[in-house]
C-alpha cells in the first residue's frame, strides 16, 4: 500500500514536471517562428508625390508588399470615404494584394478597374470589390501625409479617419 502511494506520488511529480516542460517548450517553439525584430521594424517607406502623374499607377514596396498609389484624373469617380486628399488632388492608396488569396491585381486604365488574374476578382479605382471572390475592398496601409510626402507605416489623421469610417460601414 505504501509502495503504491509512493509510486502514485512519483507519477504525479513526473507528470507535473513534464507538463510544465512541455508547455515551456511549446512557448519557445512558437516564439522561434515569430517574425524577427528586424523584420518587424523594417519599415517606414516615404513616397514623394510631387512627381505622381494623374491616371498612372505607381507601385512602391512597403514591408515586402506592393502599395498602389494612383493620382486621380478628374474623370475618376470620387470615393468620399476611401480617397486620400492632399491639397487639391485625390489619391487612391492601397495595399496591392487581392483580398481573396493575395495575388497582385493589375491596373486597367481602359475601364478604370483593378483586375486580379488569379481568380478573376475586380476592384474599382478606389479598391472596392465589384466582381468575383474577394471578400472585402483592397486594404489601405497605415499612412501619414507630410506636406506632399506620404509616409507608409505611420498612422496619420486621415488614415485614422478612413479606418473609423470603413469600420462603421
Amino acid at each position: 500500500m505504501q509502495n503504491k502511494s509512493r509510486r502514485a506520488f512519483m507519477g504525479k511529480a513526473f507528470a507535473g514536471v513534464a507538463g510544465i516542460g512541455a508547455i515551456a517548450s511549446l512557448v519557445a517553439m512558437k516564439k522561434t517562428w515569430d517574425p524577427l525584430p528586424s523584420a518587424l521594424s523594417a519599415g517606414f517607406t516615404t513616397v514623394d508625390l510631387n512627381s505622381a502623374e494623374a491616371g498612372k499607377l505607381n507601385v512602391v514596396k512597403w514591408r515586402g508588399k506592393p502599395v498602389f498609389i494612383l493620382k486621380h484624373t478628374p474623370e475618376l469617380e470620387k470615393d468620399e470615404v476611401r480617397d486620400v486628399v492632399i491639397g487639391s488632388d485625390r489619391y487612391t492608396v492601397l495595399i496591392g494584394l487581392c483580398t481573396h488569396l493575395g495575388c497582385i491585381p493589375t491596373w486597367n486604365p481602359g475601364d478604370s478597374k483593378f483586375k486580379c488574374a488569379c481568380h478573376g476578382g475586380e476592384f474599382s479605382a478606389s479598391g472596392v470589390q465589384q466582381f468575383g471572390p474577394p471578400p472585402r475592398p483592397l486594404d489601405i496601409p497605415p499612412f501619414k501625409v507630410n506636406g506632399t510626402e506620404l509616409v507608409l507605416g505611420e498612422e496619420g489623421e486621415q488614415y485614422k479617419k478612413i479606418l473609423a469610417a470603413t469600420l462603421v460601414s
Binding site: 517562428w33 523584420a39 515586402g64 488569396l101 493575395g102
Partner: protein, 414 residues
C-alpha cells in the same frame, strides 16, 4: 540472459543475438498475402520504392542547394543544372518522381475505394494511408517552394494565405507561418527544414504505421472474400501450395511485385530522360518577384482538383462570402476522404462493379475529379467559372449522399 553457444557461422552468430531467423519469418517468409490479387496490389511496393528514389535524389540535391532567397534560384538553375556533374539528372528524377508518385498514390487510393478495402477492420489502413496522402501533399508543396521561381513564390503566397481564413487568429497565423509579413527568407528556410527533415521523418513513421496496420486485418482480395489465414498458411507450409489461398510475402509476392516495379521504372526513367518537361513549369524558370504575380497561377496537376474546389465558389450564397465558402469546401474536400469508411453504410466488401449503386457513385466521383482537375488549370473566367462551380458542388453532393446511396444499396440487395 539467453544461452549463447559457439556459433556455426555468421548467420547463426547473428541469430543468437538478434533472432534474425524469427524476424525474417515474421516479416517475410511467413507474412501471408492472398493469391487472389492483381497488378494493382503492387502499387504499395512501387510507392515505397519511389519514396526511396526521392530520398536518394534529394540527398544529392541537398549538397548544392542553398535555402536563401538570394541564392536559391541560382543554386538550382545554375549550380545544380549546369555545374554539378549529373545534377540535372538528380533534379529531373526528383521533380518527375514527385509528380509520378502522386499518380501512383491516386491509383493506390482509388484501388482501395473500388475494392472496398477501407472497411470491416481495415479502417486503420485507410486512415494511415490518408495521413500519408496529407504528408506527401505537404512534402510536395514545401519542395515546390525551394527553387524560388515565380510559381514557387506565388504558390507559397496563395497557400499560406489560406490560413488567413481561419476565424479570429487567421491574420496573425499567416504572419507566424511565414515568419514575416510576406513570403520571405524566413519562410523559405523554414519550409526547407520541413521539406528535408520534419515531414520526411513523419512520412517514415506513417509508412511504418501503414504497413503495421495491414498485419491484423490483412490485405484485401479481388473478390473481397475473407480468408482463414491460419488454415491457409498451414496448408501452404504443409506443402499443398497449389490449393492454399495464400502465398508468403517473400519471395513469392515480392517476386511479382518487383516485376511490376521494373515495368514501372522503365516508364519512370523514360519520363525522366525524355519527357521531364511536364514536371518543370516554364513560369518557374523566372526568379521569384514579389511585385509581379504571374498572369495565371495554378498548382501542379495533382492538386488541381482541390484547388478547383477552393476557387469554385466565386459568389456569395446566403450571406456567406465566396472566400469563406471556398475555404469550407476546400477543408471539407481534404478531410472527407478520412471518414470514407463511415460514410459507406454498406457492410459489403466487394469490387464496385458488383455493387449496383456504389458502382455509379464510384465512376461519378472519378468523372467529377477529372473535370475538376481539367478546369483547375484553366483561367477561372466566363463559362469556366460555372463549370468549376457545378463540379465543386457535385463533389460535395457525392460525398454527402454516399451514406444514403449505400443504405439504399444495402436494402435492395438483401
Amino acid at each position: 540472459m539467453a544461452e549463447i553457444e559457439k556459433s556455426e557461422g555468421i548467420v547463426d552468430w547473428l541469430d543468437q543475438r538478434l533472432a534474425i531467423k524469427k524476424f525474417n519469418k515474421v516479416m517475410m517468409t511467413e507474412y501471408w498475402i492472398p493469391k487472389d490479387i492483381n497488378f494493382l496490389w503492387a502499387m504499395g511496393v512501387i510507392l515505397a520504392s519511389m519514396f526511396g528514389v526521392l530520398l536518394i535524389s534529394g540527398i544529392f540535391l541537398l549538397m548544392y542547394y542553398k535555402p536563401d532567397t538570394a541564392q536559391a534560384f541560382d543554386s538550382v538553375n545554375y549550380t545544380i543544372m549546369q555545374e554539378v556533374a549529373y545534377g540535372w539528372l538528380f533534379r529531373h528524377i526528383h521533380g518527375v518522381g514527385a509528380s509520378v508518385i502522386f499518380l501512383v498514390i491516386y491509383i493506390h487510393m482509388f484501388t482501395g475505394i473500388y475494392y472496398g478495402s477501407y472497411k470491416k477492420g481495415r479502417e486503420m489502413i485507410w486512415i494511415s494511408g490518408m495521413l500519408l496522402f496529407v504528408l506527401f501533399s505537404a512534402e510536395g508543396f514545401s519542395g515546390y517552394m525551394l527553387p524560388w521561381g515565380q510559381m514557387s513564390y506565388w504558390a507559397a503566397y496563395v497557400i499560406t494565405n489560406i490560413f488567413g481564413g481561419i476565424p479570429i487568429i487567421g491574420d496573425e497565423l499567416v504572419v507566424w507561418i511565414r515568419g514575416n509579413f510576406f513570403v520571405s527568407d524566413a519562410t523559405l528556410t523554414r519550409f526547407f527544414m520541413l521539406h528535408v527533415l520534419l515531414i520526411p521523418l513523419m512520412i517514415m513513421g506513417a509508412i511504418g504505421l501503414h504497413f503495421y496496420a495491414l498485419r491484423i486485418p490483412h490485405v484485401n482480395t479481388q473478390t473481397g472474400d475473407s480468408i482463414d489465414f491460419d488454415a491457409e498458411s498451414e496448408r501452404f507450409l504443409s506443402g499443398d501450395k497449389k490449393n492454399s489461398k495464400v502465398i508468403p510475402f517473400w519471395p513469392v509476392f515480392l517476386a511479382k511485385d518487383f516485376f511490376v516495379l521494373s515495368t514501372f521504372l522503365v516508364f519512370f526513367f523514360y519520363l525522366v530522360f525524355f519527357h521531364y518537361n511536364f514536371a518543370m513549369d516554364p513560369v518557374n524558370f523566372d526568379p521569384a518577384n514579389d511585385l509581379k504575380t504571374p498572369a495565371h497561377i495554378y498548382p501542379e496537376w495533382y492538386f488541381l482538383w482541390s484547388y478547383e474546389v477552393l476557387r469554385g465558389f466565386f459568389f456569395d450564397i446566403f450571406g456567406i462570402s465566396a472566400f469563406d465558402l471556398g475555404l469550407m469546401a476546400f477543408a471539407f474536400a481534404n478531410g472527407v476522404f478520412f471518414v470514407l469508411p463511415w460514410l459507406d453504410r454498406s457492410p459489403t466488401v466487394a469490387p464496385a462493379n458488383q455493387r449496383p449503386y456504389f458502382k455509379v457513385w464510384f465512376w461519378l466521383l472519378i468523372l467529377v475529379m477529372i473535370v475538376l482537375s481539367v478546369y483547375g488549370k484553366l483561367p477561372p473566367t466566363g463559362a469556366n467559372a460555372w463549370v468549376g462551380f457545378v463540379s465543386s458542388v457535385a463533389f460535395l453532393v457525392l460525398f454527402i449522399s454516399l451514406p444514403l446511396v449505400t443504405i439504399l444499396e444495402r436494402r435492395s440487395t438483401k
